[in-house]
């Protein structure tokens, strides 16, 4: 089969995105015909629009964050959810909101980003290897270290939430990954994500150079350390801001980049371009599914993703670990 031309893939992905967006506006907890929706009360439509906006931005952010992390570590299992980065961000966000009740949305976001950074640092100490040198085997310690960090941070965050009635109301759904139905100061994180997504495109070529090897990158005038720091900064900002909006969502950053890299081949910038519409569509679709399956109740989008994500992780692993081969720990 000849590979599809990138233009067609872009068209396909963006039309998928548009389709899911239409579904997100059309279907929801309230059952209304499309006509009634358009001519009736504008509140419902704008509410759904806000939700779709949050879902698409965060979906794109998490997908790109996973892609960059995977390219940097050379580990296809690196995803902000599995590695515990999202959980670290969640813990810091909850702690800030609880101990400093007057903190604005921006402050919460900054502390979430700091939490993501701390979790990333812990992960690096436990399971890190040589950055960018993907050839050196696959560090299978990464998901284990991530499991530990995630369990610790989420347990602590849940403890904080459960001991306080006010944060229960605000954060109990958030912690399992719910798209916010009404705006509560999400504008700052949303704008941050958009900015970071735009800036990330310019990082792609640097990072692609680094994956060829630190020496190559150095000889071509790109300091590998700067590239690593920039990439890590991008990953933490994207993950932290996403968590500030919808809570710790796992597996999206694993599966979407896996598909995008499969479609794009070795070109990182192209994979980046595919990740944005695909990630946005996937998170919006799981939000819609969560709203529609249990009318009039709702299932948080993070749960829907986790259900498919676990299966996806198994699928990735079957590709990653060939039978009969000895596996390095």
């Amino acid at each position: 089969m000849t590979p599809l031309r990138p233009l067609y893939i872009y068209l396909l992905l963006w039309s998928l995105f548009a389709l899911v967006l239409l579904c997100a506006l059309r279907f929801g907890t309230a059952q209304m015909s499309a006509e009634a929706l358009l001519h009736g009360d504008a509140g419902l439509l704008s509410g759904r629009g806000f939700r779709a906006l949050c879902a698409m931005t965060v979906g794109a952010a998490l997908a790109v964050s996973g892609l960059m992390l995977q390219s940097l570590t050379g580990n296809p299992l690196a995803d902000p959810g599995i590695t515990g980065i999202n959980a670290g961000a969640a813990l810091m966000a909850v702690a800030t909101a609880q101990f400093v009740p007057s903190a604005s949305a921006g402050v919460v976001m900054v502390s979430a980003i700091a939490g993501a950074g701390l979790a990333g640092l812990a992960l690096w100490l436990l399971a890190g290897g040589d950055a960018g040198l993907g050839g050196e085997g696959i560090a299978l310690r990464l998901p284990l270290a991530g499991l530990a960090i995630e369990a610790l941070c989420l347990s602590l965050a849940m403890m904080l939430i459960l001991t306080d009635a006010q944060s229960q109301a605000r954060y109990l759904h958030w912690i399992s990954g719910a798209i916010p139905p009404v705006s509560r100061g999400e504008a700052v994180p949303l704008l941050t994500i958009c900015g970071a997504l735009g800036a990330g495109i310019f990082l792609c070529n640097r990072l692609a150079l680094l994956t060829l090897g630190a020496d190559q990158s150095h000889s071509l005038g790109r300091n590998p350390r700067v590239t690593i720091s920039l990439t890590l900064a991008l990953v933490t900002v994207l993950s932290g801001a996403s968590v500030a909006i919808v809570g710790p969502i796992a597996f999206l950053g694993l599966l979407v980049p896996f598909v995008a890299r499969g479609l794009a081949g070795p070109v990182l910038r192209r994979a980046y371009g595919y990740c944005v519409p695909l990630g946005a569509a996937v998170l919006m679709a799981s939000d819609v599914a969560g709203r529609v399956i249990v009318r009039p109740g709702e299932i948080d989008a993070g749960l829907i993703l986790a259900m498919f994500g676990g299966v996806g992780l198994v699928a990735v692993l079957t590709r990653l670990l060939p039978r009969g081969a000895g596996v390095r720990t």
Binding site: L126, L147, T163, L303, A306, G309, G310, L313, V314, V327
Partner: protein, 313 residues
């Protein structure tokens, strides 16, 4: 010899604390009085069932963890990390929704999860077992939550508390089931103690000593499944007890590797202690014991990985 009495003594102290502690602390005389008076609601209605479940489930989990670690010779392969606990939870939720026997549902769930992980990981190296387990566990955990959201309110309310690993709804009937499975499993382990001890020596040694390997594996896996199912039925999918119990037991007592009984006692100590902490943190609200266990257990996993890395260097 002094170390041999350490764990039972610790468990006794914790049992005392668990009966005496809580929102109302009971002095020694009040506690004895309460124990003698069969009508005492605080002791016989609330604290004793909770204690029985904590001890029973903790012992079952500790035992299951030690057995599994022995069978795979991998300290990471415990029921809570490789997804058996979550599988049992999914089975429990399905059984709850369909009004089937809960223990059977949990056992089927754990068995199916075990089978999936074993089939997927076969021939892919030692760590594959753990990694596939994480994937299966995550799927089962998410599916359980989704199912419970779908459930009718009365059932869901009960199950949601259970799901986060809480002992708040302890009753003596469930405790009876846990203890039944625990005693049966314990008897089997005691009967086969000699052969189970060989597990740690490796497949070659076992084969050369004339042990039927496949029968041994089926026995151990069956035991682990039953013990995991029983404990999950009682306390929900609580993580890390099975994972921490055996290494901690060996570190404390200095016992040799097949420290199944030591692990069982340590598991009971851990769960009773975690439950006590959970009760003390939030005396009024329902506070899940599983969270306390996460905060105790996850740092150990971090420590384990860190030490492993230092050794690898």
């Amino acid at each position: 010899m002094r170390r041999a009495v350490l764990l039972p003594a610790m468990l006794l102290v914790l049992v005392w604390l668990a009966l005496a502690g809580g929102r109302n602390w009971l002095g020694p005389s009040a506690l004895v009085q309460g124990l003698l008076d069969r009508q005492d609601f605080l002791i016989y209605g609330l604290r004793l069932p909770r204690l029985m479940i904590a001890v029973g489930a903790g012992m079952a989990l500790g035992m299951a963890g030690a057995l599994m670690q022995g069978l795979t010779r991998n300290p990471l392969a415990t029921p809570d990390i490789i997804g058996l606990t979550q599988g049992a939870g999914l089975g429990f939720a399905i059984a709850l929704l369909l009004d089937l026997p809960l223990l059977a549902g949990a056992a089927c769930g754990a068995g199916i999860a075990m089978l999936c992980v074993a089939l997927l990981a076969q021939g892919r190296g030692a760590l594959a077992f753990v990694l596939f387990g994480i994937g299966i566990g995550a799927t089962a955990a998410a599916a359980t939550t989704v199912l419970l959201v779908l459930a009718p309110d009365a059932k869901a309310a009960r199950a949601m508390i259970w799901l986060s690993g809480s002992l708040a709804r302890a009753d003596l009937a469930t405790a009876g089931w846990v203890w039944l499975v625990l005693l049966a499993g314990g008897a089997l382990v005691a009967l086969r103690a000699h052969r189970l001890g060989l597990l740690w020596l490796g497949d070659d040694v076992m084969a050369s000593l004339g042990v039927d390997l496949s029968r041994m594996r089926v026995l151990v896996l069956g035991l682990v499944t039953a013990l995991t199912a029983a404990s999950t039925l009682a306390v929900g999918p609580i993580g890390f007890v099975a994972f921490v119990a055996a290494p901690l037991a060996r570190a404390v007592t200095g016992a040799q590797a097949p420290a199944i009984w030591h692990a069982a006692l340590t598991g009971a100590c851990l769960l009773v202690a975690a439950d006590l902490v959970a009760r003390l943190i939030a005396p009024v609200a329902v506070f899940p014991t599983g969270l306390v266990m996460g905060v105790i257990g996850a740092p150990y996993l971090i420590f384990f990985l860190w030490r492993d890395r230092q050794e690898a260097r």
